[in-house]
Assembly symmetry: C2
Homo-oligomer: 311 residues x 2
């Protein structure tokens, strides 16, 4: 069975033509920055035509930047897509544009996790969490070999689990959620607050008033910058606490660590996280932490698996 997988992001649309777990072709295109959902759907259809010009693929799966009510094919409001201010039936819109083939739509982090589970670092492990560090922290949960979506399609919001219930009232640095410590956006907020309070840091020297990217954190960490190191230590510790909690709640055997930030921080961060997790887990229930294996194609590859997964 040949399937097309689409990863719809805020900046680009990536496509993979996947045949029996093997990527046979790829394509990409910028995501429209103006217009509305119809323009985005037209752009997706164009990438589909590029990766499969003769329309031979049996089905199309799409990973989208937001939660999808299970089985609906609908992406509600999406902040990083143009004019996406209401429910849009992505599945119906693409079926119309792409020769009426089966279309299944799911959250981008879910499809990334599905890809790592079936074909990547999580192959052969039936209870795992895929955690993706970037601007925020996203995650997908696989239980007994199936993606856990939940009755409202909201499962996997690890970034919104609480690691510090005492900070709930402190609006300056979030409300004690994992993402407030381990998401790049809030990590930058913390770094700038410390800099404003008089601490020297390479993070600010490197970017000035510009945005701190994953590479900025990597460089500052490699320079042993104390502020960067301290914030990264907190990120690893908060992540270890959230993952230990997830293991205690649903019994998880493996953590797959991905996302732009984790990719940049590399092996030292993975090893640090794994050892902190070992210390925190209840009884002897630890789970190893493995680096994600499929890189930036994980989303498109995972999306290609959606139709088969749904049937």
């Amino acid at each position: 069975m040949t399937a097309i997988g689409i990863d719809l992001g805020g900046t680009k649309i990536m496509a993979a033509l996947v045949d029996d777990g093997r990527v046979v072709d790829k394509a990409k295109k910028s995501t429209p920055r103006t217009g509305g959902p119809d323009d985005v759907l037209d752009a997706i259809a164009a990438v589909v035509a590029k990766v499969d010009p003769d329309g031979l693929a049996d089905s199309i799966g799409v990973g989208v930047p937001g939660p999808v009510p299970p089985g609906s094919g609908v992406l509600p409001v999406a902040a990083n897509l143009p004019g996406w201010t209401h429910d849009v039936d992505v599945a119906a819109g693409l079926r119309r544009r792409c020769g009426d083939r089966p279309v299944v739509v799911d959250n981008d982090v879910n499809v990334g996790t599905l890809a790592e589970h079936r074909l990547g670092a999580g192959r052969g492990v039936d209870n795992l969490i895929g955690v993706f560090m970037g601007t925020g922290v996203g995650a997908g949960v696989v239980l007994d070999g199936r993606l856990r979506r939940g009755p409202r399609g909201l499962a996997g919001e690890l970034g919104h689990t609480y690691v510090n219930f005492r900070e709930f009232a402190d609006t300056g640095v979030g409300r004690g959620e994992l993402e407030d410590y381990a998401g790049r956006r809030m990590m930058e907020t913390r770094a700038r607050a410390r800099h404003s309070a008089g601490e020297e840091t390479a993070l600010v020297d490197l970017v000035g008033a510009g945005r701190m990217k994953s590479s900025t954190w990597q460089t500052a960490s490699e320079m042993a910058d104390p502020v960067a190191r301290s914030i990264l230590d907190d990120a690893a510790d908060a992540l270890a606490a959230a993952l230990a909690s997830a293991i205690a709640l649903v019994d998880i055997e493996l953590i797959v660590l991905g996302g732009g930030m984790a990719g940049r921080l590399g092996e030292p961060f993975r090893a640090d996280l794994e050892s902190r997790l070992d210390e925190r887990v209840f009884a002897d229930t630890t789970a190893p932490v493995r680096a994600a294996a499929l890189g930036e194609m994980a989303g498109a590859i995972g999306a290609s698996l959606l139709v088969e997964d749904a049937t």
Copy 2:
């Protein structure tokens, strides 16, 4: 189908004869305090004979105080049972003693949750958490209508999820786990520490050097004792954070609140917890909090459902 359910606790063994979801007879007996596993198994067999003298029930389910590797029928080390220092095959031991009927064994909190899900406060809701407040905090997780046990039988350890990752190093008051704030044992430790530091509290006036029971907390709270109220506020807040995290991770629709402590604290605590949870949940994903409906028979009733649930 008629089934016997056994709730094996550290102080008593309770039995229910359940016919099609209806309790038709009950029995109980003290748990042996000396001897070993064989004495405990003999005592269970005696309660089975008491509740079903003619051996008419089709099957026997047992809830035990500890995690049971899925499908094993084995209870490993149990601190509150006499001489229970190694793996004991409870299922085989009871089959031998009780006419070779099918026996299924599971964790006591799991069976309590199963009972509330099938016949109690959680009836008709397929994604819920049963949380039981007592000396510690136990929980059972139902996903898509099935008890989540996990590959190692360790799911449901909500009491060991982290609500404050900053307190990990502070051994005096635990390591930031939910149970350190919302379990009666650690709540007493906190109260005594504040009393030793010079704060007056009715909690100590009521029991002196004796153990603070659930009724002690109830009385002190009703007297508006500031130390009791502050520790109970923390308990509700920590519990709200842990439950909001669980909802974010696996998408839960209902919380069933039970256990001796929750029973004593009653409606004010339930309502307080529910409103704190409302404030904390991600997006609009809240779950109501309902008081457990089956009281102290929940364990035995749930155990009676195990054999049917396993087939």
